[in-house]
């Protein structure tokens, strides 16, 4: 069976401007599951999902309850893997013709000397007025950075180095199970002196984790789904036009905004460069068409479209 890794963007599970109510997420997850079920037909599918809005909500809830100190970011990330993984698993059940589905918690090793730790840049959680942000930074050891007229907490976004649960994922995929894993890019961990591991207060880009996972699983293709129909040339200008197919070289020569299309393009290019296989970027509601090269942007070493 063709083996595909699919990454669902946080914006695909919660549209811009929507409130994070349970029923809103549920409805969006149901739509995503309908598309994933099409994509899983006759294919081995591994699903990676974002968690940006959800981990933000869990952090706000934790901070609102003052009897117990808020849990560190790695634990909140694991909670969000539980929340979202459960909803996706539940909505997939009954849509896969009886095929089993499993949602796994995933830890991903990062390098404690990753330069990202010296320059935390990934904003998480709400915006605060400067004085509040500075107080929280002092109280909780946060790094903060300006965001519009406000400030936000920023954390490091280190490179994913090694997926710790890879063997279990591979066993399940080879047995025909549809696997949901590495939610939010996986919980970042580093080695401890006693031979174990511990979580760190950082966030791994889930598209980069999905690319590493696809490479490690010898996947035939990598599909990165978001709320935008394709990679666009001249995005934000009147000349904006979708790119139907491209080589990694062509995409690497272009400029993309950090935090939105840039990590997707980087993930797609890495997978294609390292494996010679294809990656595709497009809209969640066209997932199957993106996978089959009928919509979105197809990235291949030779630049042709189609899969």
């Amino acid at each position: 069976m063709d083996r595909i890794v699919v990454a669902l963007g946080g914006n695909a599970l919660l549209r811009r401007g929507e409130k994070l109510e349970a029923e809103v997420q549920r409805r969006n997850v149901r739509r995503a599951a309908e598309e994933l079920a099409f994509m899983a037909r006759d294919r081995a599918l591994v699903v990676v999902h974002g968690n940006g809005p959800q981990v933000g909500l869990l952090a706000l809830q934790a901070a609102s309850y003052t009897e117990v100190a808020p849990y560190p970011l790695d634990v909140l990330g694991a909670e969000s893997e539980g929340m979202i993984g459960y909803m996706i698993e539940q909505e997939l059940t009954g849509r896969l013709g009886g095929r089993p589905v499993a949602a796994l918690l995933t830890q991903v090793a990062v390098d404690p000397n990753d330069p990202a730790f010296r320059l935390p840049s990934k904003p998480i959680g709400p915006v605060y007025p400067e004085a509040t942000a500075r107080r929280l930074a002092a109280e909780r050891g946060w790094s903060i950075a300006p965001d519009g007229g406000f400030y936000r907490r920023v954390v490091a976004s280190p490179e994913p180095r090694r997926i710790l649960g890879l063997e279990a994922i591979r066993i399940l995929v080879e047995a025909g199970v549809v696997v949901i894993c590495a939610g939010g890019g996986g919980v970042p961990v580093v080695p401890t002196e006693d031979g174990g591991i511990r979580g760190v207060e950082a966030v791994i880009d889930k598209d980069l984790t999905a690319a590493l996972l696809a490479e490690n699983l010898d996947a035939g293709g990598l599909v990165l789904l978001t709320d935008v129909a394709a990679v666009f040339a001249d995005w934000g200008t009147p000349e904006a036009r979708p790119i139907r197919s491209a080589t990694p070289q062509r995409l690497r020569a272009m400029q993309f905004a950090p935090g939105s299309m840039r990590p997707k393009v980087e993930a797609a290019c890495r997978f294609v460069e390292r494996t010679g296989r294809w990656a595709a970027i497009g809209a969640l509601q066209e997932g199957l068409a993106v996978l089959e090269g009928r919509a979105g942007t197809m990235v291949r070493a030779d630049g042709r479209d189609g899969t």
Copy 2:
């Protein structure tokens, strides 16, 4: 390899009177993981854990943040599977000699006509003064019940009927992976009219789920660990004495307090009655000795001790 299902009580992960700070849980999980690592040596181990205090904390945090309505209990249960599963998985990593470990989210089917739904009896979350409890019950559709001089929310505790992720669990166990699953007894789900499933606001007893899982996996034994050294005869009296070994018939003739030892005894009796194999009940810090019949209470069809 001998296949064993182990259930860790919520009180084994958070001792009575302890505050639910992240570091307190971490320390307790680390102790539990040290014992589990001993138990996993030369055995296939499946770990089920409780989530009572943790789901209570998540509910309090969610209720304290008023911008988004608190998530329903099934989602909070999944979040707690993420939180606790992650911590156990992380603390086991490095203690298993390189053997893989996986934490899975688990849904468990219950009967929508289970009589438990007509008589919600399982208390969850904090105690409230009567007026507050009545207001919350009206606002949120809760059932409430008296608890000391206060009131608490109560939910149904239906029977676990079918473990939905069983196939994935079995595949991993047979491949030698140490599996953490069915946290909190698994998230209870019922069928929907369109052939899918949905979560319900209930709590499944995790010891009963562990017994069903052990039966379904053809486990050789079931180990139920808590913060008490054994099943006691005449508990709470000056004549209290530990029972070293017993038949299910003998235990079923005794009285146990609901919510503490009673579900463990029920789970042990069911597993032994249905399979003819053994079940053991004892203290987490003596986990290996309980498994090997050197501590705790051994339940066997013929009443002899030892495994």
